[in-house]
Symmetry: none
């Protein structure tokens, strides 16, 4: 029995509420100054007090030593092993910009590129044109018409865009189509080749669109051509509310995280603003309607990516002050505080380091640690565990699983 089958079989209705507070890129590395990480250096009286009455541990996002992107890392927190539940790059790109992807759509990532007179690629990223230029070009590409297909084109950033093909009723598109990007310069682009018979018609549509697009781009150097890759459809994962028996709300301000939540079937609730206080307000507003709350904090990751140790610590302090007490005031039954992965300021990037994690529950044990930090979590009673176990733990601690066996 896969664990999803087990959980579906065991879960039982209850009045309890679970909050999953995700500080994006929470985990950090010690600085030379005092050997403290961002989380350890931050002044967090509320999290520290909670830690004393919680169990602590270190969560492994995907696999030991493996650095995850945001998509796989969040799937793992939601209990979907990202190596088993694979989301195509095109779908992730569409989710990342908040595109309202339908199950029947085929999405692909696009790059504007530069080609010479004989059609050989000279720059795969079109000299990294500014986003504004990219937006001007995608506006032109929206004019392309395909028979009985809607083609959506959306700028991501600079030379990157997303193409979404949406069929009309009765038609089915397939996405087993090879990349047109040869991944090197000095060679021509490849055609969009179907990798199975079912995908042949869709590949032909893609090639028609590409031909029309290249005709439009011809005089727009350095973005005088384009390539598509990562053709994919919504993978149709088991839905979070069905698997866990939870009415699930996602509270996030960035498109990527709303997109992943939508992909697993959570309700994305509206947040009026981008501040932590706005997210807290959204949590309060929907508290009575849901059992599970995915609460996403973006700015820890952004500060880590910028290599700004102090700012990352300050974001954590802000969460400690503005979010943690507000959540506890609502009276949850389980609160998990963690990250989707580490983003140490020292590395200025996502990393593989396991993520400090706190599990508080009305029926939980207490490790009695005096603070919430990497070192305390490294000695905690949750041990080093797969992040994909968190949902199952949360259900148990929320008294939402029946006994297995007599």
């Amino acid at each position: 029995m896969a664990d999803f089958e087990l959980i579906k079989y065991l879960h039982t209705p209850a009045e309890t509420k679970i909050v999953h507070l995700i500080l994006d890129g929470l985990g950090g590395l010690p600085r030379e100054l005092d050997g403290k990480t961002e989380l350890e250096a931050a002044n967090t009286p509320n999290l520290d007090a909670l830690a004393a009455r919680s169990q602590l541990g270190l969560a492994v996002p995907v696999r030991p030593g493996v650095t995850p992107g945001s998509g796989p890392a969040h799937l793992s927190l939601f209990g979907y092993d990202p190596l088993e539940y694979d989301v195509g790059r095109g779908v992730l790109a569409a989710l990342g910009i908040g595109f309202d992807l339908h199950p029947e759509d085929v999405a692909a990532r696009g790059n504007f590129c530069t080609v010479d007179e004989s059609g050989l690629i000279t720059d795969r990223r079109a000299g990294r044109i500014p986003t504004e230029f990219g937006q001007k070009l995608t506006a032109l590409l929206r004019e392309i018409e395909l028979p009985s297909i809607q083609a959506y084109v959306e700028t991501v950033k600079e030379y990157r865009f997303v193409l979404v093909l949406r069929p009309t009723a009765g038609q089915t598109l397939y996405a087993d189509i090879a990349d047109t990007d040869p991944q090197r310069t000095g060679v021509p682009s490849l055609p969009a080749v179907a990798e199975d018979e079912a995908s042949e018609a869709t590949a032909q549509l893609a090639n028609d669109w590409i031909a029309a697009a290249r005709a439009i781009l011809r005089d727009h150097e350095p973005a005088n051509s384009l390539n598509l890759r990562g053709f994919a459809k919504d993978p149709g994962f088991p839905k979070f509310p069905d698997v866990y028996g939870l009415r699930a709300a996602a509270i996030a301000t960035y498109p990527m995280y709303k997109g992943v939540a939508k992909l697993v079937g959570m309700d994305v609730v509206p947040v009026d603003g981008e501040a932590l206080e706005d997210e807290v307000e959204a949590l309060r507003a929907c508290w009575d309607e849901y059992d599970y709350f995915f609460f996403h904090v973006k700015k820890t990751d952004s500060a880590g990516e910028d290599g700004d140790f102090e700012r990352k610590a300050e974001v954590i302090e802000h969460v400690d002050e503005a979010v943690v007490p507000a959540i506890m005031d609502l009276g949850p039954d389980v609160l998990i505080v963690t990250g989707d992965h580490s983003t140490p300021a020292a590395l200025k990037s996502h990393s593989w380091h396991p993520v400090p994690t706190l599990l508080w529950s009305r029926v939980g044990s207490w490790d009695g640690m005096e603070e919430f930090g990497e070192r305390a979590c490294g000695r905690g009673s949750l041990g080093v565990f797969p992040a994909s176990d968190e949902m199952q733990l949360a259900l148990g601690y929320a008294l939402r699983l029946n006994k297995y066996g007599a």
Copy 2:
């Protein structure tokens, strides 16, 4: 995706260097005197200083509670789960004596035994004849000729030997052949029976060889017969350099460890002498040519097997003085110090106890423990983990894995 597939997909070239320092049988048990293990009792200022800036944990060699042999234990350290990557006993025996096994060879373990006049086995180990007597007998058995097959016979120790059948070009041998040893006395030996059709010709060759050998041994009581078991071929495992993208060097002085390293495709570099200092010299000599270094220390295990607590502690002290600083002077990016299994002096044998492990890296966290020992490792942030995760961790900490997913 199996983890080998994942790692093959993610690994990326880098200039970083990884040292895997294996103290064979490192783990120990506390003595009554002061409750310290061999590692804790040893005076190890260098390892202790390193521990303060490292992550510690306890590695489970194969499975909880399971005591591994040297072959499986090392395969696990190299990332090959020994339950999945099974090496036949015949191959392990050939590797153990440093035999240059070819991929097309079939190897079997042999035992001299004693039989009575009616051919019933009276002693399965021929009264444990001395090694010299065994060597005299194997010399006689080398005279046996088989049509278009080369048969190699090598003494292991006392009544034990290895038989290797090597085909001529164009011929293929198969090794699904049952043991001839009935594992008890008072019964006759069994014939070498093929367990599939492909192995029938090879089984016939083995029976021909056995008949010729028994004719030669007839008057050499108590070794007047023999049995073969564990027929096997090189299992053709995925190669370490391909899986991990690492140029890998093995530095070891005992045949067994060189053999296992060769089995997974490492280069076994020459060591001029048997002392730790000679191994360090070999490490220095090949430092620029490789990315990964398996550095094997044998004598911790030998002392443990002898039940000599003090000597085992002294070997550890010698490693601390002569090996650890020399490695750090070379400027590695990742150093893992561990053992393949435990060999507590108190047990005088390999054991199942998880193995103290230290992971130091330029981009690692610090547990801040004050010493390298079983108790400190039991509280470390690596937790209790499968030894087969070490390579994946090493690659992560050596910045040799791309991000998984966007």
